[in-house]
Amino acid sequence: MTLQALTANRLLDGEVVFWSGAHWVEQFSDAELFDDPDPADAALATAKALSTLLIDPYLITVTDDGAAPVSFRERIRALGPTDHGELGKQAEGGAAIAAIKGAHGAARSTGRLSLIRRKP
């Protein structure tokens, strides 16, 4: 079983958001975790139609305990930059943030494919 979550950037401000099952939320800890690929794909298809709300929705894989995205890139998206610990989502602190920071075994290639992209 591979856990997945649905993420995107919000069009209006670029903020990283996650699908909670009912709303688009800003913290990964509030994200709905899909253990079945079919509803995950259905949620993704719905998100892709929300073009005035979101940019580029996609599914990410999540650690088996559901505490953190698998990929290092996605952890940084879920936290904020590591050079400014006071900025971004990590500023909220708490156990959920600490769990992402403490997650091990990053595997970026399972987070999202085709990450090596050209510069615009």
Binding site: L11, D13, D56, R118, P120
Partner: protein
């Protein structure tokens, strides 16, 4: 007046552009434009989507700013970002926390101080790099800024060169010492004096970094200066016609020049140039004089070459003495100096400046520096015209704002791109690696003893951190999901330009700073004396002793 003075036409153009973008944003938010339709429009205004938010890249034309403009950038960072900005290796500034809904207002704010984000993205001619010591160094044969401004005007919205096969970068230097990395640009231009003192350019073409680095080849030893625009038109036409559009990774002019050979490329350019109506393209002398005059002239007082006040202050203050030794450069005018402001304080993100720091630098420029500020490709700032008498006061203020780090061109003056902490393209972080290395060499006496050592870090193969021309270059790679770093040695972006060669297998993040230490220790044991830089020792001995130093340690780890 220190920067080129915009006229009514320039200002109307910027206002129109900002208004146009406001309409485009409104149409995107309403759904009238899809993201696919909107993305090229926002990129043409420097607005990228990165990991945490939008990023706005603002052009700083040939790296020259005045206090009014730097204050405006500070205010934008405070009002629309998170209170800081990031100066880049393209001598631009990036704001990493921008909201789309604010972007039109920001463009209006920029336009109010003659700034913009035009052509900071896209397959067009980008912001021009120029010598940050322009107008200040005795080495230069002519000031590169008027030529850069002429190129800016020529290339902005140029209908023929707006959709090139790929982006296009030009550097202009007037000095024998290259502070622009001219040979790593699509076109590098070096002002020179030819026979009978005539002014001209050495024209280098086909340099670049990225995944396939090349140093530019000189295709014309001497181009009469008055022919600059027509000759560049010929180069761009040949590139536009023959450059590859079928493969994005082979689309830069460097690939074309390398595949044709520089001589064959030069012949094509000369043939194209001969067909052009050059007089209709080249800058009339009167127009060049108008541009020169629009910069205003720096006003220098007649001063003695030495300043007693400065000499006494540095004799009394070892910190000032160190700053003077490392961060001041010779000025053409007796009694003046070039003050380099390092944005590489211990623990800081290379190239970052807070709003307060930007305002402090603006105030220093206005009070002590003829209202002139420059941005360097090494992500530092420069006050090019400061009286030696004023250096103690300037240094005191710099220290107060955390800007007095005396490490120009030393081991802790590290270039680092934003990397995976911000950038959607990156494979690995660059900033924490820079911080690790800087911590390891934090003792200033040790950094001084090591001497000039340029470390450059990129978080991906696109090479924004200039790792190919680092004395020590560091490239972040993704190795089975982990951040790894490939070390290269022997690069130089200066007048002795060279490309770095990969030292060996990539290292995990926690072994990079120890590896750099091993390299430095090896160098210190091998150098013939303090005058022999790390780069010189590497060039003399080759990679073997350095490879042994790093990988012997790595094996033990």
């Amino acid at each position: 007046m220190s920067v080129y003075a915009y006229d009514t036409i320039d200002r109307e153009m910027l206002a129109d552009r900002a208004a146009e973008f406001r309409g485009q944003v409104a149409r995107r938010l309403s759904g009238a434009l899809s993201e696919d339709q909107f993305k090229p429009l926002r990129l043409m205004n420097g607005l990228y989507l990165q990991l945490h938010a939008y990023m706005l890249r603002v052009a700083i034309p040939y790296g020259a700013l005045d206090g009014r403009q730097l204050r405006a950038l500070a205010a934008i960072s405070r009002d629309y970002d998170k209170g800081y900005g990031h100066f880049t290796t393209r001598t631009n500034i990036q704001f990493h926390w921008i909201k789309l809904k604010d972007a039109p207002d920001i463009l209006d704010r920029l336009a109010a101080v003659d700034l913009h984000a035009i052509q900071t993205s896209g397959n067009c001619i980008r912001n021009i790099t120029a010598d940050p010591y322009a107008g200040a160094t005795a080495e230069e044969v002519d000031d590169p800024r008027p030529w850069s401004e002429a190129l800016r005007q020529w290339s902005t919205f140029h209908p023929e060169f707006t959709y090139l096969p790929r982006k296009f970068k030009i550097a202009v230097t007037g000095s024998s010492k290259d502070r622009t990395v001219a040979r790593a640009h699509d076109i590098g231009l070096k002002l020179i004096r030819g026979a009978e003192g005539r002014l001209g350019f050495e024209v280098m073409v086909g340099g670049g970094m990225g995944r396939t680095p090349y140093l530019g080849a000189t295709i014309r030893e001497f181009l009469p200066a008055k022919s600059l625009l027509s000759y560049l038109t010929a180069i761009l036409r040949v590139y536009n016609r023959l450059g590859r559009r079928d493969n994005i990774y082979k689309a830069r002019i460097k690939i074309l020049v390398a595949s044709m050979g520089a001589e064959a490329f030069a012949r094509q350019v000369e043939a194209e140039w001969a067909l052009l109506d050059q007089a209709s393209i080249d800058l009339p002398d009167l127009e060049l004089e108008r541009i020169r005059a629009a910069f205003g002239a720096a006003r220098f007082e007649a001063l003695p070459a030495r300043s007693q006040a400065f000499d006494a202050a540095r004799a009394a203050d070892p910190a000032l003495a160190r700053f003077a030794r490392n961060n001041l450069s010779a000025h053409k005018q007796p009694g003046y100096t070039v003050v380099n402001i390092s944005l590489k304080a211990p623990g800081a993100t290379p190239g970052d400046a807070t709003a307060e720091q930007m305002e402090a630098i603006a105030a220093l420029a206005e009070r002590y520096g003829q209202d002139d500020i420059r941005v360097t490709h090494a992500q530092n700032l420069v006050l090019p015209h400061v009286r030696l008498d004023d250096v103690p006061a300037v240094f005191a203020q710099l220290q107060h704002y955390g800007l007095g780090t005396p490490n120009l061109d030393l081991v802790t003056d590290i270039i680092a791109c934003p990397g995976l902490d911000y950038c959607a393209l990156a494979n690995a972080r660059a900033i924490p690696i820079a911080n690790d290395i800087a911590r390891r060499f934090a003792e200033p006496d040790r950094a001084d003893a090591i001497g000039e050592l340029k470390i450059k870090i990129s978080g991906c193969i696109n090479a924004c951190g200039h790792h190919h021309v680092g004395h020590i270059g560091i490239l972040g790679v993704d190795k089975k999901g982990e951040e790894f770093y490939q070390l290269s040695l022997g690069g130089s972006g200066a007048e002795d330009a060279s490309l770095a060669a990969i030292l060996g297998p990539a290292l995990p993040a926690d072994q990079v700073a120890p590896a750099v230490q091993a390299l430095v220790d090896a160098y210190l044991g091998l150098r013939t004396g303090q005058a022999e830089r790390f780069l010189d020792t590497y060039r003399r001995l080759g990679p073997a002793p350095f490879k042994e130093a790093v990988y012997a340690d790595a094996d033990q780890a």
